[in-house]
Symmetry: C2
Subunit: 120 residues, 2 copies
């Protein structure tokens, strides 16, 4: 499997494990927004949104910059490249396991065939 | 973005946000194992491993079956298909945003060029 930093993966997957945070990412991928705008958009308190943005920032998925009294948010350097690679490799292992199982079943079926013919 | 069940995504991403649980998935993708074997392999108490397997089972990533006193584990029906699709779409939006930014920079550069020539 992919060599990766366990701590980084823990942070990015934990950041994705919340519907609001995934929504914020989708939103920011379409355009920058302030924390106030995000709080309004997701019908949430400023404090609540600050926490969510903090979790995304820790994972490298969002960066923020304070301009005067406004904290602007944009998508961060992490574009989930390694995470997608890890999951794709897992899926390939998954497929390989079940294909192997299918082959065993096919072999068992073809082994049974001559007996079936004899009975006829 | 992909239409998905928020609750399912919360569970699967939360399940992946732990290095031991990702290790257990990699292990089970290569072959079935009992909870006792997994606890030994990851140098963990039986109670600790039971909790991790429970989180993976809740997310559909692992299924377990009790045979006598042994609880056998194998990879579950969820092969992270929708999760990979959501993340890939996010990455495409990410790339599109930065490509758009690059184009703006290129346009600004080419607009500056005649002035630079005049100065020469």
């Amino acid at each position: 499997m992919v060599q990766h930093s366990p701590t980084h993966f823990n942070a990015s997957f934990a950041a994705l494990a919340d519907a609001t945070r995934r929504g914020v990412l989708e939103q920011l991928a379409r355009g920058n927004a302030s924390i106030t705008e995000l709080a309004d958009k997701f019908d949430m308190s400023l404090t609540g949104m600050k926490k969510h943005v903090g979790v995304l920032e820790q994972a490298g998925l969002v960066t923020t910059e304070k301009v005067g009294r406004v904290r602007n948010c944009k998508i961060g350097p992490c574009r989930l490249e390694e995470e997608i690679e890890w999951m794709s490799q897992y899926r390939r292992l998954w497929d390989a396991r079940f294909e192997a199982l299918d082959r065993v079943i096919e072999q068992l079926k073809s082994r049974d065939k001559p007996n079936v013919r004899k009975k006829r």
